[in-house]
């Protein structure tokens, strides 16, 4: 992924931004490698978009330094930076045709007419939008506008493409399709993509590496797999996937020592009597099924444990994901109120440090 010694495509050094008395970004250090698909993931207000806007040059940082390919561009205006942006609202020029929109960057850089036409058509073909070039943006569908915005940025062959929640306005099906295409396009053109999103599934699907933002800081930078299997904090564990936290007295009772622990829902066996054979040395705990969520291919069981509560004092629950292998005969919802036994292997316990989390992070379900 990253070769040491190579100049990073983007380097952020202690980057911070205040809006009046509000600290939007509180000191961010990041290195993004050449050709990397890098995502900045976080809840709204976590500072990810502000960092992107500072890289583009729309917001001057309060403190810190921005380097593009080794050159300090902190004080350069947007038009002098070799990056292009795909905006959340696409920001297509309404008074220009699709072709004129895509040609715009080359036009202001005084590229000859024939040459810019050729490159614009090429860029439109890259995003699979060869037709409709004479139309106005208002005559296009959301997905087509998205492609025009992408082509308008790519035609300039920037070193870095910045994408600010570009798929947020699309419906789920179209978003899935565009995710796949975006990844293909990135492989084809081979430039660095910096992708801002609040959708953890989108980030896991697309990225080579992900930076998780919270409260204006980077919580963790890791590959999708590392982020999911070894979250560095309770916040990351909760924001990427379902957290299933055990802490305080509950941790002592179940794991056997103090600390903050997390177990991913799919790692937990429900009713392990039948398949406990391979679970030598497993942690086991009993509880009552409080809620069953039917997901089609699987079910979520929310189980309240028979152990003292966590550090917050409330009872401790764990979410268990179970594939619908043989539930056709029984209605999973009827298991509500059942006593069950849970088991998991000790190596699937993620230790999140010894301190209790300050606050319960927002849980994002991957449905």
């Amino acid at each position: 992924m990253r070769e040491s010694g190579q100049t990073p495509s983007i380097r952020l050094v202690d980057l911070a931004k205040d809006f009046g008395s509000v600290r939007a970004v509180a000191g961010v250090d990041l290195e993004i490698a050449d050709g990397e698909f890098f995502s900045m993931l976080g809840p709204s207000g976590s500072g990810k978009t502000t960092v992107l806007r500072m890289i583009a040059g729309f917001e001057p940082p309060t403190r810190g330094r921005i380097e593009l390919a080794g050159a300090d561009v902190t004080d350069d205006p947007p038009f002098a930076r070799d990056v292009n942006t795909v905006f959340q609202d696409y920001a297509l020029f309404p008074h220009m045709s699709v072709l004129e929109n895509v040609e715009y960057g080359l036009r202001v850089k005084k590229v000859a007419r024939a040459e810019r036409r050729r490159r614009a058509v090429e860029a439109l073909e890259t995003v699979r939008l060869g037709e409709h070039v004479a139309r106005r943006p208002s005559q296009l569908s959301g997905g087509q506008r998205q492609r025009v915005a992408l082509a308008r940025a790519l035609v300039n062959r920037p070193k870095v493409l910045l994408l600010d929640e570009p798929l947020g306005a699309l419906d789920l099906k179209l978003r899935r399709e565009m995710q796949i295409e975006l990844k293909q396009i990135q492989r084809e053109v081979g430039i660095t993509f910096v992708f801002v999103t609040h959708d953890q599934e989108e980030a896991l699907t697309l990225s080579d590496r992900i930076a998780v933002f919270n409260d204006g800081r980077v919580q963790q930078v890791a590959t999708p797999r590392e982020l999911y299997e070894q979250p560095g904090s309770a916040f990351v564990a909760g924001f990427v996937g379902t957290s299933n936290l055990l802490d305080g007295p509950a941790a002592r009772a179940v794991i056997g020592r103090d600390g903050v622990f997390s177990i991913r829902p799919e790692k937990i066996h429900l009713d392990p009597a039948a398949d406990l054979g391979g679970l030598a040395g497993a942690h086991t705990v009993e509880g009552v099924v409080r809620e069953v969520v039917y997901l089609g291919s699987a079910n979520h069981y929310v189980v309240e444990l028979d152990v003292p509560g966590g550090s917050a004092g409330a009872s401790t629950t764990l979410t268990v994901l179970r594939q619908n292998l043989d539930t056709a005969a029984e209605d999973p919802a009827e298991r509500r109120g059942d006593r069950v036994r849970l088991a998991w292997l000790p190596e699937h316990v993620i230790e999140l440090g010894t301190a209790a989390p300050v606050s319960t992070p927002t849980t994002q379900e991957s449905a």
Binding site: F79, F87, D89, F93, Y104, R107, R152
Partner: protein, 270 residues
């Protein structure tokens, strides 16, 4: 529409009454400009083009018309430049006292003309020591003509996403190029609409003009007012009034059409 038959009839009736009250007198002015009778005897005993010919030869009326057009064009030009700059500054920059400045720019259109007129007259003559005349009329008209341009441009900017200008800069355009290729084209119809209204405002202004024209310059409304009570000029005044009705309808109609067209274009944009 879910409107009862009775209610609809009532609303149609109201509309008819209001339109009648406004437009029948105007129609009379038009008709009377062709009336053979010098004293507008009703019904007209015959129709003639004599008064239109007389008005065409009236040097006073022609000169006043020229002054009015020149004042209107200049005041509109000044308003377009200053109004646009003010709207851009207030809409795109954040600074202390922004709302107060915005209010101060709009206020002149609400102030009674007689107050504005007195104040400007006083300032021009005693404070700046200016000779009242063509220049002072233009300045006076610009004070309220700015408002229509400012309002139109500001309304357009408010609906125009700031990311359009950011996108332009992002694609390599310097600020002036962004203004030339993105901001200005999107403002153009708002400027045209605001400018037409500004011209119409200036063209029929009489109160402020009275205080700022001095003794030598006459705009068309002032010429009409001064000739209104001279019996042998009455038919000519009537012709001028009729011509003004037709002339002023055009810019208003254009302005309305433009703002409707663009309403569609801008709001349909992503």
């Amino acid at each position: 529409m879910t409107m009862s038959r009775g209610l609809r009839a009532f609303l149609v009736g109201c509309t008819a009454v209001v339109l009648t009250i406004v437009y029948v007198p105007l129609a009379l002015v038009l008709l009377n400009s062709f009336n053979v009778s010098k004293s507008f005897a009703w019904p007209p005993s015959g129709l003639t083009l004599r008064w239109w010919q007389a008005a065409g030869h009236s040097t006073g009326a022609r000169h006043a018309l020229l002054v009015s057009v020149e004042v209107g064009l200049l005041a509109t030009a000044v308003s377009l430049v200053l109004g646009t700059m003010a709207a851009l500054a207030l809409q795109r920059a954040r600074f202390f006292g922004r709302n107060a400045v915005s209010l101060l720019i709009i206020l002149p259109i609400a102030l009674p003309g007689i107050v504005t007129g007195l104040a400007l007259n006083n300032a021009f003559t005693s404070l700046f020591g200016l000779q009242l005349g063509f220049f002072t009329i233009v300045v006076a008209h610009a004070t309220f003509c700015i408002v229509t341009v400012f309002n139109n441009v500001q309304a357009r900017l408010r609906r125009m996403s700031e990311s359009l200008e950011e996108a332009s800069a992002d694609l390599g355009a310097r600020p002036f190029t962004t203004f030339r290729l993105v901001t200005f084209p999107l403002l153009r119809s708002a400027l045209l609409a605001g400018g037409l209204l500004a011209f119409a405002l200036s063209f029929d202004e009489i109160i402020v003009t009275t205080f700022t024209a001095g003794g030598h310059e006459q705009t068309l409304p002032i010429w009409i007012f001064q000739n209104l009570f001279r019996p042998n000029q009455t038919p000519v005044v009537n012709v001028v009034a009729a011509a003004l009705i037709v002339l002023s309808a055009v810019p208003i109609w254009l302005a309305q059409r433009l703002s409707q067209e663009v309403e569609g274009a801008v709001s349909a944009a992503p």
